[in-house]
């Protein structure tokens, strides 16, 4: 049988003083690590020696039982020892990845792919899963707080006449019941006056939908208002509020992992990508809500025209952002085109069936 022997030179530090001793080291068949220094010979059981994992070109270190240490440059010898003792298998693999540029570039490509997977699928799917299972009380608390803040900063009590509000509220309740197929316990319509915000409608996760007086005045007829409200109900039915919050957290996590090893400079460099990704998620939700509203409108035989007209009026009231990249809503032209092509592709009969099948 071939005799197994690994030999190398090292520096020996006894751990009691900072003195250095040059040493010749042998690892023998009998499972011992034998140390020859200028004045002593020591041996230690191999299985009690702990070899520090390899890292770049840093010197190798072996911890001896009793607190002493060997430090050596002879990477080959230590690797042979490691292999024999079956230590650091995982991290040796990691080091092999780090050693060759080909592997690292492969890792880079893999990383880009993984990040893309996360952002396109991983995060949205996970967020969706969590959001649909969250307790209603959580949504109610969140929504109550948001409404409080909005009331303090943007809103004042509505100036619409009570009769008008009641009329709209009834139509809204009918629509909500028709969509959810349940008696309306979840949805509530709130009217507000919002001079700072202008014509707008907001959906809160718990089912509270806020309608501003300005939007009511902007609309030509009730169908346009209902179209917008259907869009908002789409936000709630698809849990966009919660999903947005969770997806945001996921994106922040990814970006901070990517830049995590570096400290202060990373926070500055990380803001832009985070905002870009979050805006993209938000636009996706708007499109989803538009599609939802379109389905309902077609089902009612109204077609998507009311929603298209309302979008046009709203874009006239607020200036459209010049670039879509940073914006949370797709550009109005795109939304109108999307609605038109959706309507053309969908036969009313088909939509009816889809609508009744949903629970």
């Amino acid at each position: 049988m071939e005799r197994f022997m690994i030999r190398f030179s090292a520096q020996y530090f006894d751990g009691l003083t900072s003195a250095v001793h040059e040493a010749e080291v042998e690892a023998t068949d009998e499972g011992l690590l034998v140390l020859h220094t200028a004045d002593t010979v020591q041996s230690f059981p191999l299985h009690e020696c702990s070899i520090a994992p390899p890292l770049g070109r840093t010197p190798r270190s072996i911890e001896l039982p009793g607190g002493a240490k060997l430090i050596t440059n002879d990477n080959d010898a230590v690797t042979a020892l490691e292999t024999r003792l079956r230590q650091n298998r995982g991290l040796r693999l990691v080091r092999r990845l780090e050693e060759k540029w080909a592997y690292v570039l492969g890792c880079l490509a893999a990383m880009v792919f993984v990040v893309w997977l996360f952002i396109e699928f991983g995060i949205p799917v996970a967020a969706s899963w969590i959001a649909f299972r969250a307790p209603q009380t959580l949504r109610e608390n969140m929504s109550a707080q948001v409404l409080q803040t909005l009331d303090k900063v943007y809103f004042s009590p509505s100036t619409l006449e009570l009769s008008r509000r009641t009329q709209l509220h009834e139509k809204f309740t009918d629509m909500a019941e028709e969509i959810t197929q349940k008696p309306d316990k979840l949805y509530a319509l709130e009217f507000r006056s919002a001079k700072k915000m202008g014509a707008n409608a907001l959906a809160l996760p718990s089912g509270i939908i806020i309608l501003t007086d300005e939007l009511v005045h902007l609309a030509e007829n009730d169908q346009e208002i209902l179209a917008v409200l259907a869009h908002e109900i789409g936000h709630v039915e698809n849990q966009h509020g919660l999903r947005m919050v969770i997806e945001k957290a996921g994106v922040v996590f990814i970006i901070s992992v990517l830049l995590g090893d570096i400290t202060s400079t990373s926070t500055l460099a990380g803001v832009l990508p985070t905002v870009l990704v979050q805006s993209r998620y938000s636009r996706k939700f708007e499109t989803e809500a538009d599609t939802f509203a379109a389905q309902y409108l077609i089902h009612k035989g109204l077609g998507t025209a009311p929603l298209q007209q309302m979008l046009l009026k709203l874009s006239g009231a607020h200036s459209d952002p010049s670039s879509e990249l940073l914006s949370t809503h797709p550009q109005t032209q795109k939304r109108i085109q999307h609605l038109q092509s959706f309507e053309m592709q969908t036969e009313p009969g088909r939509v009816l069936k889809n609508f009744d099948d949903r629970d």
């Binding site: 009691l16 003083t17 003195a19 890292l55 770049g56 080959d76 780090e98 995590g260 400290t263 400079t265």
Partner: protein, 381 residues
């Protein structure tokens, strides 16, 4: 695999020692003839890390962290730390970071759970978030104490560990009571607090049996704060003036185009960034030099030749490199900065560095380290 140069040469030309030393093999005797004091020997720190080497380690870390949903983080952190420690050489011997990732994992999981609980509680009812934040402030000094102890104990040179001699009470005095009093003194005590912070760290960091002494004075910190405040006032008036001038010329933004808005906002951001880098680099450099040169470890003294100008230059070019390379150049940036900072440090010792002796220290739990990593606490080094 090619063998790296090891141990790296101590070139006496760079040591600056007038007596002209070479890597000492025989220590100057502690007791010499009457009238001949031992010659202090100067050693410079050397950093042998490379950007491209660290780049590979860094990106493999990131990939593995992503794939394992974050569980690889303790290993990634330990490898990163160990890379920077083991590439720092003093007198031909490297430093070592001895923490074991498995031990850190538990503390790390606790911190992640706590942070998640804080976020979720906040969404549920803000009062919970408030309570948790309050709890955090209460245990913050304990975390600092644990972190310093952990970082010291798991750092070693020539197999002699560092030790942190500070007491928990000291941490509470500086990081709780002093902070509590701060708003009532209109924040005038902030420079004093800075001095106390540095003192808590530097007067308590021992290497083996070499005991620390910190001789920094509060006056330095007041003067430093004053200088920084004056600098800020002088520089911040530029963007304010620029914004005022633009508003005047564009009649309050009425005649603005997308390009001009971007230019305006961009310039403003650049100036703010420049200011931020200037202030932080200036403070860091001055503070580091002062603290090191007013700390002694046994008989060992320190010199620091760090320059504000060079540090600012490095920091600014680093930031732009990172942004324009979409983060790919971040490892080079970190290595570059570390090299400059570490190699500005010199150690002066009248006794041979072989004569340090180890002192036993009690066990340390790594929760503090995980917390400090997660919250990115650092004493600026």
């Amino acid at each position: 695999m090619d063998t790296p140069p090891w141990p790296p040469h101590q070139d006496s030309a760079a040591s600056g020692d007038p007596a002209g030393s070479h890597p000492p093999q025989t220590p100057p005797p502690l007791t010499q003839g009457p009238g001949t004091p031992p010659e202090p020997v100067t050693y410079r720190l050397r950093f042998t890390g490379y950007g491209d080497e660290y780049f590979r380690i860094y990106f493999v870390n990131v990939l593995l962290t992503l794939i394992t949903f974050g569980f690889y983080v303790p290993w990634a952190r330990v490898r990163t730390r160990q890379y920077f420690y083991a590439n720092t050489w003093l007198d031909g011997h490297p430093f070592e970071y001895l923490a074991k990732p498995r031990a850190i994992l538990r503390g790390y999981l606790i911190v992640v759970a706590a942070a998640l609980a804080h976020d979720l509680a906040g969404n549920y009812d803000p009062i919970y978030a408030l309570v948790l934040t309050g709890v955090f402030f209460l245990i913050f000094p304990w975390i600092i104490y644990k972190t310093l102890r952990f970082k010291a104990r798991y750092a070693a040179w020539r197999n002699i560990r560092f030790r942190f001699l500070g007491k928990l009470g000291g941490a509470y005095r500086v990081f709780f009571w002093l902070l509590l009093v701060m708003p009532f003194t209109l924040f005038l005590l902030v420079p004093y607090w800075s001095k106390k912070r540095m003192e808590y760290a530097f007067s308590n960091l021992a290497l083996g049996d070499a005991r620390p002494r910190f001789t920094g004075r509060t006056s330095f910190y007041y003067i430093l704060t004053l200088k920084v405040a004056l600098m800020m006032a002088a520089i911040i008036s530029i963007p304010i003036f620029a914004v005022a001038a633009t508003m005047y010329f564009t009649e309050g933004y009425k005649t603005h185009t997308p390009t001009s808005t971007i230019l305006l906002n961009g310039t403003f951001i650049l100036i703010m960034l420049g200011l931020y880098v200037l202030i932080t680099s200036y403070t860091f450099a001055r503070n580091m030099k002062y603290c090191l040169e007013h700390t002694k470890l046994g008989e060992i003294g320190f010199h620091c030749s760090i320059g504000v100008g060079k540090l600012i230059q490095i920091q600014l070019t680093n930031i732009f490199a990172i942004i324009f390379s979409f983060g790919l150049l971040a490892p080079w940036a970190k290595v570059r900065r570390a090299r400059y900072i570490l190699e500005s440090v010199a150690i002066e010792s009248p006794v041979d560095l072989e004569t340090l002796a180890a002192v036993a220290d009690s066990e340390v739990t790594p929760i503090g380290d995980a917390a400090s990593e997660f919250l990115d606490l650092d004493f600026g080094f």
